[in-house]
């Protein structure tokens, strides 16, 4: 009952957003901001088209490799800095300041190294995703209650058994949180890279649509990306909550 009421309230907020969109459209004119209904009709036509599929696929492939790279590197750095305390203490502030840096300033360097190519976009995406994965993995390992390790020793578990049955399950929820943030930021990185300089992908589609004054297409792509990110995040958040409850 309470859940239903809350869902209704959330729907009211969604409706309010659509109304605000319509009002803004009336205020600034339809060339600047198309109304919600024509845009959503356009979305239904545009999404099944070949041009959309091509660009969405390009973004998806780039994003996939960026994600693999940031997870592999992030987990490796996080485990190393979590297990080796001194490296963790020395490296943590360095990672935190890299995390808060506007990484877009470094994109020209990536471009000078890789040229306008997919490896460049993958690298730039991974640069965004690797830091949260590393930081949260490191914290997860550091925050293992010492009594777990004592219990493992009391039970004479081998090193491998300790890792599989104690360390892995104990750190999993927080590591998954890191993977979720890494997912979000890698996607942002890939899209920024496509927006700044690329002929492929949804990011470049948005910029092209803006320059050709095709605002319906621009908003359509933005809405699709919005929904993709929101759904993926909800799914990962759901997994995270389930893991937390189990522990």
């Amino acid at each position: 009952m309470i859940a239903a009421k809350r869902a209704a309230d959330t729907l009211i907020v969604l409706a309010a957003i659509l109304v605000a969109w319509q009002i803004l459209h009336q205020a600034v004119g339809s060339t600047a901001l198309p109304a919600p209904v024509p845009t959503l009709t356009y979305l239904a036509e545009f999404v099944p088209s070949a041009r959309f599929a091509e660009n969405a696929w390009a973004t998806l492939v780039t994003f996939f490799w960026a994600l693999i790279l940031s997870y592999a590197l992030g987990l490796a750095i996080g485990v190393w800095m979590g297990v080796h305390r001194l490296s963790g203490a020395v490296g943590e502030p360095i990672l935190i300041s890299l995390y808060t840096l506007p990484k877009i300033t470094l994109y020209p360097v990536v471009l000078l190294i890789f040229g306008l190519s997919m490896p460049g976009r993958v690298t730039f995406g991974a640069m965004h995703g690797v830091l949260p994965v590393a930081l949260l993995t490191m914290n997860a390992i550091r925050n293992i209650p010492p009594v777990y390790l004592k219990a493992a020793r009391t039970l004479h578990l081998s090193e491998w058994q300790t890792i599989v049955t104690v360390l892995f399950p104990a750190t999993l929820p927080e590591v998954v949180a890191g993977l979720r943030i890494g997912f979000t930021l890698s996607l942002l990185g890939v899209l920024l890279a496509e927006m700044f300089a690329s002929e492929h992908g949804l990011g470049s589609l948005i910029i092209n649509a803006m320059q050709l004054l095709q605002n319906e297409e621009m908003i359509t792509v933005a809405v699709v990306l919005f929904l993709f990110a929101a759904l993926a995040n909800s799914l990962l958040l759901w997994i995270e909550h389930r893991l937390h409850r189990r522990v």
Binding site: P93, L112, L192, N215, A222, A229
Partner: protein, 252 residues
Amino acid sequence: MSKIGWLRLAVIVIAVGLLELACRTGLIDHRVVIPPSEMAAALVRLLISGQANDQIARTFGIVVTAVLIAVIGGFSLGVTIHALPRVRHALDPFFATYYAVPIFIFYPVMIAIFGLSAIPIVLMGVATAIVAMIIATLNGLDRVPRVLTKVARLHRMGRIATALRLKLPAAAPHLFTGVKLAVSYGFIAVIASEFILAPSGLGRVISDAYTDFNNQRMYALMLLLIVVATVVNMVLHVFDQRWAERRGIGKP
């Protein structure tokens, strides 16, 4: 400085030194990365010549404007939403997914509406920073100990006095965390917007220098941004930690 602090400094110095060495020996092409010493020299020359001062002032002006709007607006909205539980429950799912969505994809929409000026950039800065401030305000108000409201009632304090003398100081560490995030998010959003598309500003100058193969200027301004961002974030981080420790919510 502690032993760990010295070690950290050594790691950074060695990393920069290796980069310098790799550039000097030609291991890294001069057209790709210039030696760090040259970056610093180019930055000093650029600052003395004053060529980029307008752009620097413009960008930091926009950052300050956006952060101020986000902090004041986020705090006011946070207080309002906290007073209306039903609105808050309806908005919760939106707050939870807000930073998962690359809101940056709406920057071209802002340009379409407001034209190519400083307004869309300020708006992107505010949009990125304000939700962090709202969430921090809600967190802070949630964690005001109930005993404080009882103390206020015992002393027959008015609503305004309770808010100013008890609730605000109790929520302050959380509010400061919000300010810290607002500064770093606002900074990132403004620079990124200028980079993608803007009439002028530091991000634009760097992206132009990249297009013109003007590596001296590009790396000089890059260095400036990195140094400013690092120093500002570190100062805020240190204050944040200290404040959090004093209120007993920090890491032990």
